[in-house]
């Protein structure tokens, strides 16, 4: 062992050998030693990415939907921007924070009923339904979503400030 780094690599290889077995290891070693090994390796990495393991950690749906929405910008920039806003707001939970919210919103706004078991899948269904809509419908959806989602602190303090503030009292009432 010339360096500590090589020693650590050897330990990792030994762990992988134990995990995957010597036969798979030798087969892979043969593959990688062939002249077109770099293309083989790229194909392996691509297959891993398609299976949703590693490579940035993003969910398959995120990799599929967002680029699709962004790609729409070439032909329909306004619709693309609206869909991206819808998608990003939903993904960040700025709107419709629960699965029930998503289901209710879809039902309230004439979208197909969502039968997903998780919020993430519900968001995907909601956005996929929105993709097929014309721009004005998407715009109406985004507007409804904002109206449907309280942005302010509706706690007692906010109301107390309003109720106790006499500056806004109309002059007629103050007579």
């Amino acid at each position: 062992m010339s360096t500590q780094q090589e020693f650590e690599l050897l330990v990792d290889i030994a762990k992988l050998l134990k995990k995957h077995g010597s036969e798979a290891f030798e087969k892979l070693a043969q593959t990688l030693s062939s002249p077109d090994s770099s293309q083989q390796l790229a194909a392996i990495l691509s297959a891993t990415a398609k299976a949703g393991r590693g490579i940035g950690g993003a969910r398959p749906s995120e990799r599929a939907i967002r680029p699709l929405l962004a790609g729409l910008a070439r032909t329909e920039p306004e619709r693309s921007a609206l869909l991206l806003k819808l998608y990003d707001d939903l993904k960040a939970k700025r709107v419709l924070p629960t699965l029930r919210d998503c289901q209710a919103f879809a039902a309230d706004n004439g979208l197909p009923l969502i039968e997903a078991a998780t919020r993430n899948k519900a968001v995907d269904s909601l956005v996929e339904a929105a993709v097929s809509l014309p721009k004005d419908r998407v715009e109406a959806l985004v507007t409804a979503l904002q109206a449907d989602t309280p942005h302010d602190d509706r706690g007692l303090e906010g109301w107390a400030r309003i109720i106790l503030n006499n500056d806004h009292r109309p002059k007629k009432a103050a007579q």
Binding site: A104, D153, P170, K171
Partner: protein, 279 residues
């Protein structure tokens, strides 16, 4: 022509504002109806529910009109000549989902209580006249009333096609009913050409707690039968989701974790209500 319905009971805390707003959400969003909510209570609970503090504070800060201005539009003071009001300026949109439905609000404010101190100048006619100017834009107008007999009650009666009476089935709440009977009697004597129609009495916030609740319901049914009032088959059951929805500014249909059974019961009541008023 809009159906105009006042939600009224001479007892507070029976759920008038909560029912008003949830009915508005139901018909506006789920049935694509054009709904206008008129907050006629100086405590402005329906405005709080629908607008939230930021939007509401903006209306006050910018001195934009509310239901108070409808009543005071012709009042002359050293500061104002009383120049009339375009009622449309007091209408605020809350939701306009695709499909044609919408939910608008004429908000209230605390100062409406001061209007009650000067109940002259035929102010009670102002709301009726104001709504006549906008009613063609709506299928349903819901008026959320204050729980006390006043000029505002007369204004609500004059503006309504129907009354909807929520009753919480418990002793003190039921006493609001004979007060309402009196209120309607006085109105009918004063305005013999304006027959008040009752859409019905709905039991609100029921829990099936026996025997008190059963006793209260029996007493209410007795008064209703005596006055030929309809009592809704559907009841709105008690649910913490209504309070949670008010805090979040959403309906029972969109309140996180609201039980499907509660939502179905409210929907059943809303549909029975629609049948009663021909909506």
């Amino acid at each position: 022509m809009a159906k105009k319905v006042s939600l009224i009971n001479m007892k507070g805390r029976v759920g008038k504002s909560t029912l008003t707003v949830n009915l508005a959400w139901f018909f506006g969003l789920q049935r694509s109806k054009r709904v206008l909510v008129v907050d006629l209570d100086p405590q402005f609970n329906a405005s709080q529910y629908l607008l939230g503090p930021t939007a509401y504070a903006g209306i006050l800060r910018e001195n934009r009109p509310t239901v108070w201005d409808i009543f005071e539009q012709n009042t002359r003071t050293p500061h104002s000549q009383g120049q009339g009001l375009d009622v449309r300026a007091a209408v605020y949109n809350r939701a306009a989902p695709p499909g044609g439905g919408r939910i608008d609000l004429i908000p209230s404010r605390l100062d409406l209580a001061f209007t009650l101190k000067t109940p002259y100048q035929q102010k009670e006619n102002e709301l009726c006249k104001g709504l006549a100017a906008v009613e063609e834009n709506y299928d349903l107008i819901l008026i959320d009333c204050a729980p006390t007999e006043s000029m505002l009650t007369t204004a609500a009666y004059l503006s309504s096609d129907y009354l909807l009476v929520p009753v919480k089935p418990e002793y003190l709440s039921t006493i609001g009913l004979p007060l309402l009977v009196n209120s309607m009697r006085y109105f009918n004597e004063a305005y013999p050409d304006r027959a008040l129609r009752l859409a019905g009495v709905v039991f609100n916030a029921t829990t099936e707690y026996a025997p008190e609740e059963m006793l209260a319901k029996a007493e209410v049914r007795q008064i209703a039968a005596h006055n030929h009032w309809y009592v809704f088959d559907a009841e709105v059951t008690s649910s913490r989701s209504y309070a949670k929805g008010a805090r979040l500014g959403v309906s029972i249909f969109n309140t996180p974790h609201a039980r499907i059974s509660q939502i179905r019961r409210f929907s059943a009541f809303a549909l029975e209500f629609a049948g009663r008023i021909g909506l």
